[in-house]
Symmetry: C2
Subunit: 421 residues, 2 copies
């Protein structure tokens, strides 16, 4: 090749296009929990949540193929599949949530959720955490802690300190609730009022802290007291990944007003959704014109239906719970001087490394550890404010055997990776 | 059925969900330019631009199926297809535009385009027309004239009077440019400055006015003089629909700085894109963190590549030009007391009806005409500020024979529809 793929990307996509790893992998094939690169090397996928029921699951592929060959139109015509899907989806949701809007991405879902909060409350103030990411639209990226937007963050946004079970234990959630209350009062004093709070019930991007069921109770009470609504971003915890429950909010034991979904919904087909109660839906629908051409199209609905079928028929939520317990047990048995904490939340795992008793993040070490694991054929990455927590979030069919392969390799990588960094 | 599809939609999707027609059609199958409803009735599709190369085109379906069965991952791993697509796409674009970001919807593309304008200019003022629609995100819907957003329109948005070739002839575009200049000065006086103007080069939602090549020259000059960039929304005109040219901006003869795309790109697979020059891409990439999980995934890229192949191999742009001339000739031969104007822009047609010499819109009549055509098995609709212009925008394989079927039926419907309204 006269021009490498990286050079070609820079030429066609521009600068600062994120890739994973020092030597980005060139993946050409996927099947179940396995990926293959262009050189034929096989990787165990311990990272990707988009191929939720496994890469290229034949039932999802078949659903897409059959419907794509039959009809693919928008919801301005009547069609059964989008209704079948919303019915199946809302059957999995409680708390009076019985309606949904289908969109194409989790970002679009969260962008709507913010407007739902405005419509039902008449207020515009919004709270998120200071170590989060909820999507890429102009409005939703205002909630991202990553980079302050041009012109500064909108004045109606407040970012509160994210939970951190290692550095700032908060067993009842009272500290977090106090931060949220301060932000709500601040928004009221500034004249915006509180429309709601948007958060991931797993706090996945925040580093997957270990939080007890009930942790959000005080916070939810504060949000409601100030007239706001509770928006649960289930892009990461939802669809059975949480293991013990189908949704992260049910695992945490709180009732959301709005639930947003994205990545895993259709195993990679671009599908997102926002589900809510009829009162909030009516407020949104009466305040904003909204139509999404591709949202809920027949093929997207068929793909999303197939994913629900596979989760149920293959017992993937139960598998997540079973494998979660096994991985956590093996992670707890790890011994390493920099390992400060291991965390599991269903089929989502974190292992945090620090350099000293003050919990100084071992960011460089974890970077090297990730590279070592990729070399060994294991796709994973890192999370958290300081990127010093290993992030392990495999497709749901990840088995006990896969878990043992991963943990055996990690034990070796921990022995081999220098602790100097 | 104990519950009609409409009742079920209201229960599962909420109120104010747009449908087409007094008796919404329940479409179950599509092939080429044909649609079938649940009762087996066949319709000629004279309306849908999403199935750009024809409903369920076998080459697009095959591309989707093969890639969905092989691999569907995001662009944080290296993959050839997204690069192959951007290369093919930008090869069709001139004006120094050589880079693109793949997204899932035209809304996402326009949402990015607004931020590109901010990034390259350092300003936030933005101009659109007062009868337009560019998408559904919080930011982009600020440019929609349809319904003022909660809390009022953002102060950095200016909507200028849309071109109207029937009521306000402006053969050189000088009047339109003067409106834009006034808006730019206003934005500067308000302290926002001008970041750019976003418009459809066909002004499709505005009613598809008949505008000469060069109409936008004065406006483009004004935008540049005030330091803004020119964003061409090619969701409707692009990909050969304009007939004489592949893009609407080339048909109009101006050089855009940013080009946005959506609906037709992948024949219904959720794909959008924003293309620009390297200087603007770098400004955006250095100012905003942006990653789109589904954008440019392997399946979306394969579908979009197949669409480009089909357009070329089946000569669909040339077909659009040929059929356009034929339909326009037949529309000009129509005789009806309320018919004020017929307009064609490639495979996109308007026929405007008015009740008097003051051009009072014959909104109700056109509503009845649309219903009569649907009854006869022709899917079409209406556009424009007053919804008194027939909107005919078929998939590109629409043939001369299809056009004659349409025009024969329209002649009959015009004879049969009462003029009382």
């Amino acid at each position: 090749m006269t021009e490498s793929l990286l050079d070609r990307r820079a030429r066609l996509m521009g600068p600062n296009i994120p890739t994973f790893y020092r030597h980005p992998v060139h993946i050409v094939k996927g099947q179940g929990v396995w990926l293959w690169d262009a050189g034929g090397k096989r990787y165990l996928d311990c990272y990707n949540n988009v191929p939720h029921v496994g890469h290229c699951h034949p039932r999802v592929v078949q659903a897409i193929c059959e419907q794509a060959a039959t009809l693919n139109t928008h919801t301005r015509y009547l069609h059964d599949l989008v209704l079948d899907y919303i019915e199946r989806l809302t059957d999995k949701l409680g708390h009076g949530i019985s309606q949904a809007i289908m969109v194409c991405t989790g970002s679009e879902a969260n962008d709507i959720a913010l407007r739902m909060a405005q419509a039902i409350t008449g207020k515009t103030g919004i709270i998120a955490t200071d170590a989060t990411y909820h999507g890429n639209t102009t409005a939703v990226s205002q909630l991202s802690a990553r980079k302050p937007p041009i012109g500064g963050r909108w004045p109606n946004v407040r970012l509160v300190p994210a939970p951190d079970s290692l550095r700032a234990p908060d067993p009842t959630g009272a500290i977090f609730a106090a931060h949220v209350e301060k932000a709500a009062l601040d928004l009221e004093a500034a004249g915006f009022g509180l429309s709601g709070m948007l958060f991931c019930p797993m706090f996945a991007n925040e580093g997957l802290p270990t939080l007890p069921r009930g942790f959000m109770d005080a916070t939810v009470q504060v949000i409601r007291k100030h007239g706001g609504i509770v928006i649960s971003d289930e892009v990461q915890p939802g669809f059975g990944r949480a293991g013990s429950h189908f949704w992260g909010h049910d695992k945490m034991g709180f009732a959301p007003d709005v639930v947003t979904m994205g990545k895993p919904m259709a195993n990679g087909h671009p599908v997102g959704a926002v589900a809510t109660r009829p009162d909030i839906m009516a407020a949104f629908r009466n305040s904003f014109s909204y139509f999404n051409t591709f949202g809920g199209n027949a093929v997207s609905s068929a793909a999303a239906l197939a994913v629900l079928d596979v989760i149920a028929d293959e017992g993937l939520q139960e598998n997540a719970a079973r494998v979660s317990a096994h991985v956590l047990e093996r992670m707890r048995a790890l011994s390493h001087p920099l390992l400060a904490d291991v965390r599991a939340n269903g089929m989502f795992f974190g292992a945090e490394f620090v350099t000293d008793a003050d919990h100084t993040p071992a960011t460089a070490f974890v970077g090297n550890l990730v590279e070592a694991m990729v070399d060994k054929g294991f796709i994973l990455n890192r999370i958290g404010r300081a990127q010093n927590t290993l992030k392990i979030r495999p497709p749901l069919p990840f088995s006990i055997e896969n878990a043992d392969m991963l943990m055996d390799a990690m034990e070796a990588a921990l022995r081999e990776t220098p602790v100097t960094a």
